[in-house]
């Protein structure tokens, strides 16, 4: 069988030739017609760059190809002129992107955007194109495609938008579909649906799919063959079964080992129940009014958090799981009084909901927060010393400058960063290092409780595991309590003693982690578990 796509010794370079900035170093792989190939790697491994170069979508002024060729049906795409490429893009090779929110133009209806490839490539008339796209939309599982056809992108949910993107990509029956992290931005239950859809469509259209992802679990479910990339090198290439059964390259083994494992060795539910209660919340409620009209009167309300009760014990991790919009982050913000709410919050024997703002500021030392995105949670114009020292200045005003620095250096050591980073700025650090700085910033205050709002979601799997182990280490050594908010059930299973499952602002199920994972009672919990913990192929 002749290969549909064949990449030979491809190197990609950003910017000028004199600098050492080659990001992909001579990779080669082939794809047959109708094959499902996955390109796996962590951020910065060059997987997306490789995919973009297939369609030559790079900015020509910034990107050059020192060596290599990309043959598609025997033709070298790198040597094609723009005109030929335009004929191939969307017709023979289509692409779907990670972020369905930004991949659709907000000022056109989805119908206008959908019929465009048909009119351009097939020369179809408007009515015929509309007819064909309606069929495709129906095929992608969008309910009532007639109504959705004239909707604007903002009127659709994220999952629906991704379906629209898929329909658009399939418009001209391409021979190759490049899917760049197609499910990363979606909720787990939606992820599973999109993945199933892609699989069905791949079979029906008998097209080849090149899936780019960081998620090995998903690949295992979807792909025939896997290429693993690291730092711009293709380190291993094997069929799914071979790769998972006997990974050859150390990096592949490392990736497979990076799946979080349960870190709470001997702390059983019975032992935890005897510990003293640190925080207790009763009938917590947070409502956002919907306002309309000239005088902005309230016409309704969104219950972001609805009658939630919870208890956190000393040294315990309480996991809060839920999909986007379930109110889990809002609940966390309410508990720390960073968001207005009603209900009773008792922290360490003291009512938090009634305390005045001045006294609350002093109490804040005891309950801290680490955010999801380490890029936006550190002020870009402050040095590491200023960032970590700020809390010390407020809560330990008696410290001299030298004593403060001493504590900062010590805490940097505890998060495995060296003391010479004091005068550096956040932009000089990687995502994992930034998250360590964010953790150091709160740990230096010696709090009793830390709210962890998706602390590992923005990190690569390998770094994720290190950060989780670091957090667990602090819990053991300092006796910290954690409120761990995440959508990732694998992480929760590794870290949490008990779990709350949230949906639409209220808690649908709560209980001991192992119990909840092995025998979920609520229907929603079962769906969530099924969607996120697929092991091997589920057919």
């Amino acid at each position: 069988m002749r290969a549909l796509l064949s990449i030979e010794n491809l190197s990609i370079r950003f910017g000028d030739a004199d600098k050492n900035n080659e990001v992909v170093h001579g990779i080669s792989f082939q794809m047959g017609a109708g094959e499902k190939l996955a390109l796996v790697g962590e951020s910065g491994s060059g997987k997306s760059v490789t995919a973009l170069s297939i369609l030559n979508l790079h900015d020509r002024h910034h990107v050059s190809y020192p060596s290599g060729a990309i043959y598609f049906q025997g033709r070298d795409l790198l040597k094609c002129d723009q005109r030929t490429l335009r004929g191939i893009r969307g017709k023979d090779i289509a692409m779907i992107f990670q972020e369905p929110m930004t991949a659709l133009n907000p000022v056109y209806t989805i119908g206008q955007q959908l019929i465009e490839p048909l009119m351009v490539h097939e020369g179809m008339g408007k009515t015929m194109a509309r007819q064909r796209m309606l069929e495709l939309l129906d095929r992608t599982g969008i309910p009532e495609p007639h109504k959705r056809f004239d909707a604007y992108p903002h009127m659709l949910s994220g999952g629906q938008r991704q379906r629209v993107m898929i329909a658009m990509a399939l418009a001209c029956s391409p021979k190759l579909l490049i899917a760049d992290e197609p499910t990363t931005a979606l909720d787990v239950t939606i992820q599973l649906q999109i993945l199933n859809l892609l699989e069905d469509l791949q079979r029906d259209f008998s097209m080849a799919v090149l899936m780019i992802t960081h998620d090995l679990n998903m690949v295992r479910r979807f792909a025939d063959r896997i290429c693993v990339m690291q730092h711009g090198h293709l380190v291993e290439q094997a069929t799914v079964n071979d790769l998972f059964a006997a990974p050859q390259h150390p990096y592949t083994r490392f990736l497979l080992d990076s799946e979080p494992t349960r870190l709470l060795a001997d702390e059983t539910a019975a032992r935890m129940a005897t510990r003293p209660v640190l925080m207790q919340a009763h009938k917590l409620k947070c409502v956002f009014p919907i306002k309309a009209g000239f005088f902005r009167h309230t016409i309704g309300e969104v219950k972001a958090v609805d009658n939630v009760d919870l208890t956190v014990r000393q040294g315990e991790t309480l996991g809060i799981v839920g999909e986007s919009g379930s109110g889990k982050s809002t609940l966390g913000m309410c508990l720390l009084r960073l968001q207005e709410c009603t209900g009773e919050i008792v922290f360490d024997g003291q009512r938090l909901d009634t305390v005045g703002s001045r006294q609350l500021r002093l109490l804040r030392r005891n309950f801290q927060v680490v955010f999801q995105d380490p890029y936006s949670s550190l002020s870009p114009r402050m040095t590491v010393e200023q960032i970590i020292g700020e809390g010390l200045q407020i809560h330990f005003p008696a410290l001299t400058k030298a004593q403060r620095r001493e504590r900062i250096v010590k805490v940097l050591g505890e998060v495995d960063l060296s003391g010479d980073m004091l005068s550096r700025y956040p932009h000089e650090f990687s995502g994992g290092q930034r998250q360590r700085i964010a953790i150091a910033r709160v740990v230096v205050l010696e709090p009793k409780l830390i709210l962890l709002d998706e602390p590992t979601s923005a990190l690569d799997v390998s770094v994720q595991k290190q950060v989780l182990e670091l957090l667990r280490g602090f819990q053991v050594s300092h006796g910290l309590s954690y409120l761990f908010i995440t959508h990732d059930l694998k992480v929760i299973r590794a870290m949490a003693h008990r779990v709350l499952v949230m949906r639409g602002g209220s808690v649908v199920e709560a209980g001991d982690t192992e119990q909840l994972f092995t025998a979920p009672c609520h229907e929603y919990t079962q769906t969530l578990l099924h969607a996120s913990l697929f092991n091997g192929k589920i057919k």
Binding site: Q372, L378, E406, Y425
Partner: protein, 359 residues
Amino acid sequence: MNDSVSQHGTAAIRVPLSNVQPLSPARRAWLRFKTNRRGYVSLWIFMVLFILSLCAEILSNDKPILVYYQDSFYFPIIKSYPETAFGGDFETEADYNDAYLKDRLTQAGNWVWYAPNRYSYDTINFATEHPNPAPPSAQNFLGTDDRGRDVLARLIYGFRLSVLFALALTVVATAIGIIAGALQGYLGGRFDLFSQRVIEVWGSMPELYLLIIFSSIFQPSVLLLIVLLALFGWMGLADYVRAEFLRGRNMDYVKAARALGVSNRAIMLRHLLPNSMVSVITFLPFRISGSILALTSLDFLGLGVPPTTPSLGELLAQGKDNIDAWWLSMTTFGVLVSTLVLLIFIGEAVREALDARRG
């Protein structure tokens, strides 16, 4: 040698220092600014011109810098001497351009060190051979205006006044704009809504009419102009700062600061302000050039500074009235255009330098 031991009170901590000096965002912006040759050169030219103009009294003055008369030194540039001190007849201040006095000051071992241009902005040259406005000559390098005052002197002093005026106006208006925008953006809600309406009402006032009215009520002066223009000039910037604060208020690092227990004032000053300065600084050169233009046009219309004050706008107006006296309009035009062009080149370079996407 990579490591250094630093002594802190009682405890000595080993702080290994790497060879690469970490660059602050401001320092990196400065390096990017320097790579823009045009803007960098413009900044140098502008600074040199501005500093020279600050020394206008030495460059262009009808009083000599130093006089040596009958074995003693005189400093007319700082101190005023009566004509009798140099053997004249009158008790009034000496006119050093007077032929009789010049003669006495250069006789018998006496000497005078004149300024390079022997006229101040309000010196009237009575000795010119041509009717005023007089064309350029050896006496007046760029001619005189219609009252016999030296054009070069007026340009030097006028440039200085324009730039100082623009700097003062920019500082005042920017300060008001930052404070107003910061409060609106950070506090939000009702305060924001109310202030926005106030700004809309205030912004729709006819600025020019108010200036005409005020200049007839009060004695026109530079200070009054700064106050009036600043009252109307802060609104544009306030909108930008407000938007930056609104955006920044919801950033995680602000939430993190609130969770640390940082006070509102400290959050605004330490976290939000440095991060919203980009738009403020980007606007500064353009605001300065805008202010210069505003002063010039008001002076051109006769609504600006009092008549004796050296001003580019007033020279332009004279140039319009004496259209055949090309040395009035062309030179003023040249000064004005080069000032504005320099500022705009600097502004472009600043804008590019602050664009963090440029690495």
